[in-house]
């Protein structure tokens, strides 16, 4: 069971997210709705990365690859005049699954430092690929339109897009919760603490981990699909390794190995960036040392600091 403080936090957080569109419309502050939407998209990405980092012991430094794959799926299809949202979504999911399958298949043969460096290198390869594809804008990026869902849903409306993102955030949290508490999730968590032992008692952990790697990639690919719709612009920057690092920071700030932590981490990180970059354009010089201190002294993250159990199912 979750502690009362955590349940309260979640409840308030959810209500605030639901209330943001009417509130910002009433106050005529659309900017903040966009910011909240952005936070939720990165929250989805961070939640999916935490499946690997916090539960699977797979330190992937290339999660931005799927953010890019998902968003390029939208932009490239739109480039050829295919604006059907359902098709774009299917392609975004399929493409990120395929990319995750290939990257995972190569990386999961290795461990530790190799794993980090190879996920990083392969993601950077996709980044360079994005830059060299002049047809799709090269390093300038490419403009794209919102996906069309015809009579089902009007994504052109900002509020509709906002609630779609919120829906996917809740959905990804639900899927993650189901996953980590299932038998499948237990195998993954077992292999995090001792992979050799899991193999010795008969689990082909490679297959389990690869499956988890693909699932995490797909969830992040969906985040990419949403990001392309929100910004109506796609650039190779989405796949830059700084982006991967940022998603990783969100997981750390929120609390690794917790279900809801990464959501708060994403919100905290983007809020911090927004607030501090108003004061100085050189905000990185403050954030860099803060990050070092966070790693040294605050490993539990915001979520872990709330009263309740150390880590686990919440």
């Amino acid at each position: 069971m979750m502690s009362r403080a955590k349940i309260l936090c979640l409840l308030i957080g959810f209500l605030v997210l639901v209330a943001i569109p009417p509130a910002t419309t009433a106050l005529d502050a659309d900017f903040y709705m966009g910011l909240a939407a952005r936070m939720m998209i990165f929250a989805i990405a961070a939640v999916s990365l935490d499946l690997l980092l916090g539960y699977g012991g797979m330190v992937s430094f290339g999660h931005a690859a799927y953010l890019g794959t998902g968003s390029y799926a939208v932009a490239i299809l739109a480039f050829y005049g295919i604006t059907d949202g359902f098709l774009q979504f299917a392609v975004a999911v399929g493409a990120s699954a395929l990319v995750a399958l290939i990257i995972g298949f190569i990386c999961l043969r290795t461990k530790g430092v190799y794993f980090i460096m190879i996920t990083l290198a392969l993601t950077q390869m996709l980044y360079f690929l994005g830059i060299s594809l002049e047809e799709y804008g090269g390093d300038d990026g490419i403009n794209t339109d919102r996906s069309e869902f015809f009579e089902w849903f009007d994504l052109g409306d900002d509020t509709n897009l906002y609630y779609l993102i919120l829906f996917f955030l809740v959905l990804s949290l639900w899927i993650s919760w189901r996953l980590i508490n299932s038998r499948f999730g237990m195998v993954i968590r077992g292999s995090q603490s001792n992979d050799d032992r899991m193999q010795a008692i008969g689990f082909p952990t490679f297959r389990y981990k690869l499956t988890m790697f693909v699932i995490a990639g797909v969830i992040c690919g969906v985040a990419g699909f949403l990001l392309a719709n929100l910004t109506e612009f796609v650039t190779p920057e989405y796949m830059h390794w700084f982006r991967s690092g940022e998603i990783m920071i969100m997981v750390l700030v929120g609390g690794m190995g917790t279900l809801f932590g990464p959501v708060f981490g994403a919100i905290a990180y983007l809020l911090f960036e927004e607030v501090i970059s108003d004061f100085t354009e050189h905000w990185m010089i403050i954030f860099g040392p803060i990050l070092v201190l966070l790693v040294l002294f605050a490993r539990k993250g915001v979520w872990g600091m709330l009263p309740g159990r150390e880590r686990g199912d919440d």
Partner: protein, 307 residues
């Protein structure tokens, strides 16, 4: 595609590989011996270039820049080790990655604040400028030859130091069994500090050599860092020999691949398709090669433990 151009590109490839070696050598030692992932290694490369460019702008002397930059890099490396890296040895890789990522953000922004966001000019020193005609009709810049020679010297020096000297012996011993070396009375903290500082000096040195031919700008270390990772993965963590071979391979693939592949593709398909495929394919070449190496040899070409 003429043979002459191919030869010139190969030389450029070797020269780029030598760069990569000087950066990777420090990184692979730190990784192999201390088991620490140091993303900030690219920042040392950047700082080396900036220190050197600044001193050159003040004094106009390349030699003076070299002489002052090397100890400055040693101090920078040791300060970073004492303040941040030292606390990270017992942590897991994830923490090391994030903390050193924080260092990158800090250094990039610091450079941008001190020297500005634009790239900084740095001239080729007079005594190394000009061309040499050692292949008939193909003048090759002396400075690039100097880079190749400097890199080979560094490689030879490192090799002798690690296999023949007492420090090198301790470094190798520390890599295979750290607590045992400590128990035998070796100051392992000091040893780590020296190795880390040495890595910073090497990275700074390659920054100095890169300054006149590549651009000195904030974030210049990042692309090099990724390539250095590729080199280390291919060569095997902690292996100097592996780093030498892998960086030459990667250097040649990067430069020769970029010039030959588009031409090769035009032979195979329509020139339009080749025009768009060429750059994309060549930018992926070394990563595909890395994946292939990993597939057959997950520990790299020259795993450090066996030599």
């Amino acid at each position: 595609m003429s043979l002459l151009l191919l030869l010139e590109q190969t030389l450029n490839g070797i020269q780029f590989g030598v760069f990569l070696f000087m950066i990777s050598a420090g990184l692979t030692l730190v990784l192999g011996i201390m088991n620490v992932v140091n993303l900030a290694h690219g920042s040392f490369y950047m700082l080396g270039a900036y220190y050197a460019a600044t001193i050159m702008a003040w004094t106009g002397s390349f030699i003076l820049a070299l002489v002052i930059m090397l100890p400055a890099m040693l101090i920078t490396g040791i300060v970073v080790e004492v303040l941040v890296l030292r606390t990270m040895y017992e942590r897991d890789h994830m923490d090391q990655v994030l903390a050193t990522f924080g260092l990158i953000l800090f250094f990039n922004e610091a450079v941008r604040m001190i020297w500005g966001a634009e790239s900084m000019p740095m001239d080729i020193p007079a005594f190394l400028s000009g061309h040499v005609d050692f292949i008939p009709d193909a003048p090759y810049p002396i400075f690039r030859i100097a880079i190749i020679i400097a890199g080979l010297l560094v490689a030879a020096l490192l090799y002798v130091m690690i296999t023949r000297s007492r420090t090198g012996m301790l470094i190798r011993a520390g890599a295979s069994n750290r607590p045992m070396v400590g128990a035998l009375g070796v100051n392992i903290r000091m040893l780590y500090m020296v190795v880390f500082g040495m890595g910073a000096v090497l990275a700074g040195f390659s920054g100095l050599m890169a300054g006149p031919i590549l651009s000195v700008e904030p974030g210049m270390g990042e692309d090099m860092l990724i390539l250095a990772f590729v080199v280390i993965v291919i060569g095997g963590i902690g292996s100097i020999r592996g780093a030498v071979v892998a960086s030459i391979i990667v250097g040649i693939f990067e430069t020769v691949g970029r010039s030959i592949l588009p031409a090769l593709l035009t032979q195979l398909m329509s020139s339009d398709a080749a025009q768009s495929m060429g750059p994309a394919m060549s930018s992926m070449l070394i990563y595909i090669f890395m994946a292939a190496v990993l597939f057959f040899r997950p520990e790299g070409l020259f795993p450090a433990r066996t030599g």
